[in-house]
């Protein structure tokens, strides 16, 4: 007899309602249509790579290979398809996009799942502002009839801090941020560094600035150079990283760059990342020499962005936990 009553242990069931999964499928179909209509090529680059992410704030999963020797071990699951996609751009692909699962070790919470679905796309000939324009068009198109999305307000990282804290990350000393945190936040971690500003900025972003966001879409752009990641740095009028983030309903949805194209600078940033990792007791990661070689041959001037699909669904459907946006989150996988 088929079982008709739900079993006592329903842990096998999906975290998302079937209705949410239908909405998810609809969004994915619309995203693919959007890019097909604009001749942006869909690509699928390897999830498994000989190089990992050197970013000290991101940990790759490692896995072991035991077939015919390929000269390296371990292999890494990608944390973003960025490096191979840039190699395609350098090879002359033109505009490309990808929808793929990416993996980040150690990240699990209400807005984090170690495996999540990312939309990544690149526009040759665009800077980060032109790409922000296009993201607005994509969001309006994809969410038509599903959710109200109006083109996002834009605010520099500097102005965001000035508005909410009165402090300027470009000119105020670390002590000013420490004092602000100690007087305004419910709690400040004991082991905050006394010589690095970025952890203090991150503390204030997550505990003070983000909680004060309203529901409207917002681009924050032009980040401190120390948070450039893979963005190019503009020197005038003050040095800034041409990087942006998109917030919607108070949730960080996307991160984009006017992409760094200088091979030497890329190589140097990878090496600095590994030094920072070693100082913090993290394992150093083999850097992607193929990416550096591709940049050396020439990456077209371009901007790129990564957008978390599960979080997009959280913001549209008003879901409190990312587990309710995907079929099986980590605790059910």
């Amino acid at each position: 007899m088929p079982r008709t009553e739900p079993t006592a242990d329903s842990g096998w069931r999906p975290g998302a309602e079937l209705e949410t999964l239908r909405l998810r499928a609809r969004l994915l179909a619309r995203i693919r249509n959007y890019f097909a209509d604009r001749d942006v090529l869909e690509v699928d680059t390897p999830m498994l790579s000989q190089a990992g992410s050197t970013d000290p704030a991101i940990e790759s999963f490692q896995t072991r290979w035991w077939g015919p020797s390929i000269g390296v071990s371990p292999l890494y699951l990608h944390t973003s398809p960025e490096f191979p996609m840039k190699r395609l751009l350098a090879a002359g692909s033109g505009p490309i996009y990808q929808l793929c699962h990416v993996f980040r070790n150690g990240e699990l919470g209400r807005r984090h799942n170690p495996e999540f679905l990312m939309l990544e796309w690149y526009r040759p000939g665009s800077d980060h502002h032109a790409l922000m324009d296009e993201i607005d068009v994509l969001m309006v198109t994809v969410m038509e009839g599903v959710c109200d999305y109006v083109p996002a307000r834009r605010l520099t990282y500097q102005q965001w801090f000035l508005n909410e804290t009165g402090l300027d990350p470009w000119s105020d000393p670390l002590d000013a941020f420490r004092r602000f945190a100690q007087s305004e936040l419910a709690s400040v971690p004991e082991k905050m560094p006394g010589d690095m500003l970025d952890p203090w900025l991150d503390l204030l972003v997550t505990h003070w600035l983000e909680p004060r966001l309203d529901d409207a879409p917002l681009f924050v752009y032009d980040y401190p150079v120390s948070q450039a990641s893979l963005a190019r740095v503009r020197q005038q009028p003050q040095p800034v990283a041409e990087r942006f983030e998109l917030y919607f309903k108070g949730i960080e949805l996307a991160n984009g760059f006017h992409e760094l194209a200088n091979a030497d600078e890329q190589q140097q940033r990878f090496e600095i990342d590994n030094v920072v990792r070693q100082q913090a007791g993290q394992a150093s990661v083999p850097l992607d020499v193929q990416l550096v070689a591709a940049l050396r041959d020439g990456l077209p001037d371009c901007a790129g962005v990564a957008l978390g699909i599960d979080r997009l669904l959280m913001s549209i459907a008003g879901l409190r936990d990312i587990d309710a946006a995907m079929p099986f989150g980590m605790r059910r996988a």
């Binding site: 704030a57 919470g109 807005r111 952890p199 991150d202 997550t206 948070q227």
Partner: protein
């Protein structure tokens, strides 16, 4: 000294903070996409009952608190301590006024309470959710009035004062919800 990393944080975990044993109520992982990860935690101080918020850098470690919650039977009060007995080992502990706190007005001999022990010492007492207590004093019952409207105060055998319907009389046994301090009904014989 046992410690927990933030990766082990979850509701119910007992840790030491500022010298006091605490229990984690809620643990939230927050992290900018490309930045420092934090654990933002709601914590109850088990000695004072106060709820506070604390933020840790992810992967920080904190000292574990040797805290145990045990079901124990309330025996008697000698004027200074309230004594509880473990139902299997018959081991007894005496809880002072600070530990018993508000629970005192619900303590009836032989009822089973949750005793929170820190390093073996009782630091808080949680009475059963429902207790059956006899009415010691109240205005005479009004027969036939079952409307439930209005009501009147009644002093119970433990000294607690609760609001009861007008028809309740002295010596009746009532079922009380200790979490709200509200009258639930007459005890069923």
């Amino acid at each position: 000294m046992a410690t927990y990393s933030t990766n082990e944080f979850k509701g119910g975990l007992k840790i030491m903070l500022d010298g006091d044993p605490c229990s984690i109520i809620e643990n939230e992982f927050v992290k900018p996409g490309k930045g420092q990860a934090f654990n933002r935690v709601k914590i109850r101080n088990l000695k004072t009952g106060r709820v506070i918020e604390r933020t840790f850098k992810s992967n920080e470690s904190v000292e574990a608190a040797d805290v145990m919650e045990t079901d124990m039977q309330y025996l008697y009060n000698d004027g200074e301590f309230w004594y509880f007995m473990h139902p299997e080992t018959f081991e007894q502990v005496g809880a002072g006024e600070a530990a018993v706190a508000d629970a005192v007005k619900w303590l009836k001999e032989q009822d089973t309470c949750v005793v929170t022990l820190w390093n073996g010492e009782p630091i808080s007492i949680t009475p059963p959710n429902f207790v059956m207590l006899k009415v010691a004093e109240t205005d005479p019952g009004v027969r036939g009035d079952t409307s439930g409207g209005g009501g009147k105060p009644a002093t119970l055998e433990t000294g607690a004062v609760v609001r009861v319907p007008l028809f309740i009389d002295i010596d009746e046994v009532l079922k009380i919800d200790t979490r709200t301090g509200e009258y639930v009904g007459r005890a069923k014989d």
